[in-house]
Chain length 341, copies 2
């Protein structure tokens, strides 16, 4: 019984390439006392995985060389020696990039409720890391208020698209997206219902932000970092809030980064810039998941998933997040027989 | 009756020089209905004045060319056509850099209570912009908690030295200063009672901060900006707070600034970085002033003032703030016959 898995062989400089990882075949893990064995069905491909590959301070320790790439995923319980999981349960947690994972005391999974009427990709997207990040980032860290002018970068992306739709549902006055290229910008407006979407590849973003938000930006949900954040800071409204969710533009940076120049606008505008990690919200996940499930079922939340087939393609799927080659949430299908209901 | 005053002649690049301002002689202003005429005694020299000389977005409009340099000061009421002030009152407000100022409906002054037992320089320092900035920045924006590890840059400066002493009085576990040169660092520890003071002119500040704060920095009161902020961000504790009070290191920058590189640590450590301006706290000034006056009178707050004599020396006094040539709060004495009690 084999367990195909992807190991970190070398810390990447810039994008992940064939020297970064290798496909390894190990024995299928044994299910010990108080453990459950999980057949992995699908991996969630998140930008944060790229940060774990660096030997740098982070909110989790770096992935060690020759360790399985860390990441979340969903699977089905095929053997259980604990009352926490039943055989047949679909569970979500830190599977890592492999075909078989163990649920242990130190690595607990959550059971995905059956019968919600949502398929597994939707659950992995909207009710997974992506949707929960959007929810708490916007409402809790960003403290969205009715009438806010909200700007979201990475607006065509999995998190950004959900942020904009929650903002709209919760009474934002204006929701402006930032995305790369005319195709994505059109998608942000037409599919996700943003008021407008600015293409960061075109010049003078700061000026175009000023036209779109003449009274300033009350809340910026930052999925990308880099120069776009500087342009937004120039247009911050009084008491504006910047939610730092990710800094995709910087994750692969190997050069001396140019650095943020306009953070002193936080003084001028009495602004606040705050980072967060959804691990801090685990006790409140159900709150987000219930509201998000309701929005999907009522048709108020559009979403899409970008499925990549085959465990061996997980490294290139990760690169899609940075090249912009994906549409919606990127998921890797490891075993398509694992489904919800 | 003359009014000597200092006008902005040209926007400075970098430090203020002889082309930036000129001494002008105008007629003494007439006291109109509902106004009061003030003989200016002393000017408060604050770093923010340098930002008003730029033609850049700020929390107040730029000073216009040929206008009197904006700034706060204290003086004595010599004529009053309003019940708000009595002749002989010592008042504090936006005098500008001139010998005579008018209190009007749009430019109100506050009356400094006589009989507190504090002299005018002390009031201008601790109960003025400086002390109030320290108080609300630390307690309100920074939300100081008992047991916090607090780091303060510009620690030998007027604001920084007060911040550290309030932090100590309010139960900080450790108070670390950052200042320029061994003399200032010694002053921070010996005079102001900080636990330690790091010289930013010595190499490896980030590493020395780690040694001084092995469990991370809970609260950073930033008076300088620049690279020091980057070094602090690397050492931020979980839920660490950065109070952006000023960015002295950047106010005179004419080159492309190198920019902030480590703001993504706000994500890793779930940190918050927030700017403020004390104009937002005017309704609560008395709260700060009472506590600060109490601390001075009980001997719990050490302070010092750096007096520069002569209105004509106000521009060079402003430069002292950036060259580090001052010790304590810089004040310009315009007329030394204006005193408190």
């Amino acid at each position: 019984m084999e367990n195909r898995r992807i190991l970190l062989t070398q810390r990447p400089e810039g994008m992940v390439d064939e020297t970064t990882t290798r496909l390894d075949v190990a024995e299928r893990p044994e299910c010990g006392a108080d453990e459950a064995l999980i057949r992995v069905g699908m991996l969630s491909i998140d930008p944060t995985i790229r940060t774990w590959m660096n030997d740098a301070p982070g909110y989790l320790p770096p992935i060690q060389i020759n360790d399985v790439i860390r990441g979340s995923g969903a699977g089905v319980v095929v053997e259980s020696r604990t009352s926490r999981y039943n055989v047949g349960d679909i569970v979500f947690g830190m599977t890592g990039w492999q075909e078989w994972a163990l649920a242990t005391e130190d690595n607990k999974f959550s059971v995905v409720p059956a019968g919600m009427g949502l398929d597994l990709p939707t659950v992995m997207n909207v009710l997974g890391v992506t949707g929960i990040t959007a929810y708490f980032g916007l409402l809790d860290v960003g403290a969205l208020r009715e009438g806010d002018v909200v700007v979201v970068s990475g607006a065509a992306g999995a998190t950004g698209s959900v942020v904009g739709q929650i903002a709209r549902a919760r009474g934002a006055k204006k929701v402006i997206g930032i995305a790369g290229g005319p195709e994505k910008c059109a998608e942000v407006v037409e599919r996700y219902g943003f008021d407008e979407c600015l293409d960061y590849r075109e010049p003078h973003l700061a000026r175009r932000l000023r036209s779109a938000c003449p009274e300033g930006i009350d809340l910026y949900f930052d999925n990308v970092g880099g120069e776009i954040l500087d342009d937004v800071l120039l247009n911050l409204a009084m008491r504006g809030r910047v939610v730092l969710c990710g800094a995709i533009a910087q994750y692969n940076d190997t050069d001396q980064r140019s650095g943020l120049k306009n953070h002193t606008m936080l003084i001028m505008r009495r602004g606040r810039m705050e980072g967060f990690i959804i691990l801090d919200y685990t006790a409140r996940f159900a709150e987000a998941q219930m509201e998000l499930a309701g929005m999907v079922l009522s048709g108020d939340l559009r979403h899409q998933e970008h499925l990549v087939r085959g465990l061996e393609n997980a490294p290139s799927a990760l690169n899609l997040l940075f090249s912009g080659g994906n549409h919606g949430k990127t998921l890797v299908v490891v075993d398509d027989s694992v489904t919800l209901a």
